[in-house]
């Protein structure tokens, strides 16, 4: 990089360092908040467990069968899936928004989640499937739907714009069929299906959870590696090509990554709305321009864990996590409306 001639070099460097420091501090703070919420999720419930007991039990430092059972077998899966699902949704959402240059482009709305939902609901209603089979078919549904959208949107390459619109069309199609299946089901199956559709982090078994954790652990480093090409793509296709970026390939890999993440998280927790939509913008606000995609993932984890605490502990009757995040979405949209956002290539 050549040094800019018209600007004072130390000032530029100082500003950059300051922004980077802010991003680091925010990321560290978010990590701390996630850790606290993680522990808090395991403390609360019909039986209170003290934070020390939770930590020692999870780390296996103490031998107390009752506490171990409550913490490790009952609450740890929920807390862990909260973290994993939140990370996955936050990352997936921010990648989508940056790729498409549109703060409303969330993978929730482009059909991937509704494809997963259609497969999951069919397996619940038509085949009476076990919970791991439901997760498996949701994942299959997400991937097949994404493939379908990709094929339908392909016309001498993919534009984000066509991808989103066709995704919304496909999503409406899936919703029509889901409605039909649910209206034909027995009442108890319909209830089960609608609960799944509302999305909650406490519903998966240990097996699916392990798969999600592995996926997150594999995908996060990959996403971090691809962060630089993503930033280049943000400048627009022409600029990115001029900078020597392989636009089409990078975009494909990033979309695939985003879809794998949302597919896994939907398989584990059902469709949890709006986390993917709001995590990115919040992270951006917190860190300023230097924020990375990992921050968005952490914000996602904070939102999911927080929403689940509200849904399970703060309300008179426990509700699915997705209902709470969906209702958080409303003020966000109003805020978007009120601030009349100036950013965004939009189209």
């Amino acid at each position: 990089m050549e040094t800019p001639t018209s600007l004072d070099v130390p000032t530029v460097r100082g500003g950059r360092r300051q922004r980077r420091r802010r991003a680091t501090v925010v990321t560290a703070a978010l990590l701390l908040v996630v850790a606290c919420l993680f522990v808090l999720t395991m403390m609360l419930g019909s039986y209170y467990v003290s934070p020390i007991d939770v930590i020692t039990s999870v780390l296996g430092l103490r031998d107390d069968p009752t506490t171990d059972f409550i913490v490790r077998d009952l609450r740890l899966p929920t807390a862990a899936s909260g973290v994993a699902v939140g990370l996955a949704l936050g990352l997936s959402g921010v990648i989508f928004q940056k790729l498409l240059g549109n703060p409303l482009a969330s993978p929730d709305f482009v059909g991937v989640s509704s494809g997963a939902s259609l497969f999951a609901v069919s397996s619940i209603v038509l085949f009476d499937a076990s919970s791991s089979a439901v997760s498996g078919s949701a994942l299959l549904g997400a991937l097949l739907t994404a493939l379908l959208i990709y094929v339908l949107a392909w016309r001498d390459g993919i534009t984000g714009y066509r991808f989103v619109l066709i995704g919304i069309g496909v999503s409406n199609f899936m919703v029509a069929i889901i409605g039909y299946i649910v209206s034909r089901a027995e009442l108890y199956e319909a209830r089960q299906a609608m609960t799944w559709l509302a999305g909650t982090i406490g519903q998966s078994g240990a097996g699916e959870l392990r798969t999600l954790l592995v996926a997150v652990v594999v995908v996060i480093p990959l996403a971090l590696v691809l962060e630089r090409p993503l930033r280049t793509l943000e400048l627009g296709d022409d600029t990115a090509t001029a900078l020597g970026s392989r636009v089409e390939r990078n975009r494909l890999v990033l979309i695939a990554l985003s879809i794998v993440l949302i597919g896994f998280s939907t398989a584990v927790a059902g469709p949890i709305l709006f986390v993917a939509l709001i995590a990115g913008p919040i992270a951006q606000r917190l860190t300023g321009s230097a924020g990375g995609i990992l921050t968005a993932g952490l914000v996602g984890a904070v939102i999911v864990l927080g929403a689940d605490l509200v849904a399970q502990q703060a309300l008179p009757t426990p509700l699915p996590t997705g209902v709470v995040t969906g209702i958080i979405g409303a003020p966000y949209l109003i805020w978007l409306l009120a601030t009349v956002n100036r950013e965004g290539r939009g189209g």
Partner: protein, 350 residues
């Protein structure tokens, strides 16, 4: 008319212009087609009935005769609701496409029907509203709130309400509303049971009271809507030109959005949320009669009920003796049409 001809986009896809006589003849043929579809809608179903039974049901009604009762109590209201709701959705779609100058505007995709549906559910479940006359008002408010919110959200940013932003805003608002709805019904099994039938748009099980309650609003809405053709033609030239031609653009927009909210609210109160039909039919109309909104509105008025009733009949025949709700049939047919539209039409065209 000369002005309109010049406004047509130059280049490959110059819309067809047919003579006024040809278009009028087409309209008459369309009305004939609607009559035929109505006939099938009344006669076909789990129990087939003949022409003589229909005649007898109205001239010499015998309450003991099951076939005649089916016609009077079920098939005729269902067909009438199909006609008015279809007309309402078609005209709303055409107006929305014109006023937003957006080829993908549709009351379903923009979340307007979902807004009406969510408010109705809210009225029934939370406030215990039972009578149709009350919940129609909830539907209007819901449709109005959704229209304003979606258009407002989509209009932020530099380019204003582009197709993608409108569709995304519609999807987002629909998602919020469905969260709120499921929060309401999740704790109440009987409410959940009602909702799962309600949320699929259907013409079945809606009887005369629903029709009588929504009919006045629909008729007024339809009349106002039909009168907007000229103003829509003006807006199609672009806001600046419309102002230069002496149009009060802001007032026109407000009138149109209110009309759309009334039409969609009433249609949703009558048959639940139905997506895609308001999108596809105005495009068909535009293919037939070119860019003049006066003709597009007239054709949509008759063509949408034809499509809706035909879909309803298909739904009754395909899985006979059960039935596929009309919302499902429209969803299955409409989605491929939507995809084709996105792929092959030049979206900057309106």
């Amino acid at each position: 008319m000369t002005l309109l001809d010049r406004s047509a986009p130059a280049g490959e896809q110059r819309p067809t212009h047919r003579s006024r006589a040809a278009l009028s003849a087409g309209l008459v043929a369309l009305i004939g087609l609607l009559a035929v579809v109505c006939f099938f809608s009344i006669t076909m179903g789990a129990r087939g009935v003949g022409l003589s039974t229909i005649w007898k049901a109205f001239t010499d009604y015998d309450p003991g005769n099951a076939a005649e009762t089916v016609i009077r109590e079920l098939r005729v209201p269902r067909t009438l609701i199909g006609i008015v709701a279809g007309a309402a959705l078609g005209l709303s779609g055409a107006i929305l496409q014109g006023v937003t100058r957006n080829p993908l505007a549709d009351p379903g995709i923009m979340g307007i029907n979902a807004g009406a549906a969510a408010f109705i559910v809210f009225g029934i479940m939370v406030l215990g509203t039972q009578s149709v006359s009350t919940y129609v008002w909830f539907a209007f408010v819901g449709a109005g709130v959704a229209t304003v919110t979606v258009y407002g959200i989509a209009s932020f940013g530099r380019e204003g309400a582009t197709p993608v932003k409108l569709a995304l805003a519609g999807a987002a608002v629909t998602a919020i509303l469905s969260s709120i709805t499921s929060a309401i019904v999740m704790t109440n099994v009987s409410a959940l049971n009602e909702l799962r039938f309600w949320q699929v748009g259907s013409l079945a099980g809606r009887y005369f009271p629903v029709l009588w309650q929504t009919l006045p609003f629909l008729v007024v809405g339809l009349l106002v809507a039909l009168g907007t053709g000229r103003a829509l033609n003006g807006l199609a030239l672009g806001e600046d030109l419309a102002v230069a031609l002496g149009q009060r653009v802001r007032l026109t927009r407000i009138v149109m959005f209110v009309t759309v909210a009334v039409l969609c609210g009433a249609a949703t109160a009558a048959c639940g949320p139905i997506v895609f039909v308001g999108l596809v039919v105005p495009h068909l109309a535009r293919m037939i009669c070119g860019p003049d909104y006066r003709w597009i509105l007239a054709y949509s008025l008759f063509l949408t009920p034809v499509v809706l009733l035909a879909a309803d009949i298909v739904g009754r025949v395909v899985v006979s003796p059960g039935e596929l709700q009309v919302g499902v049939v429209i969803g299955v047919i409409g989605a491929p049409a939507f995809v084709l539209l996105v792929r092959y039409r030049n979206l900057a065209e309106l």
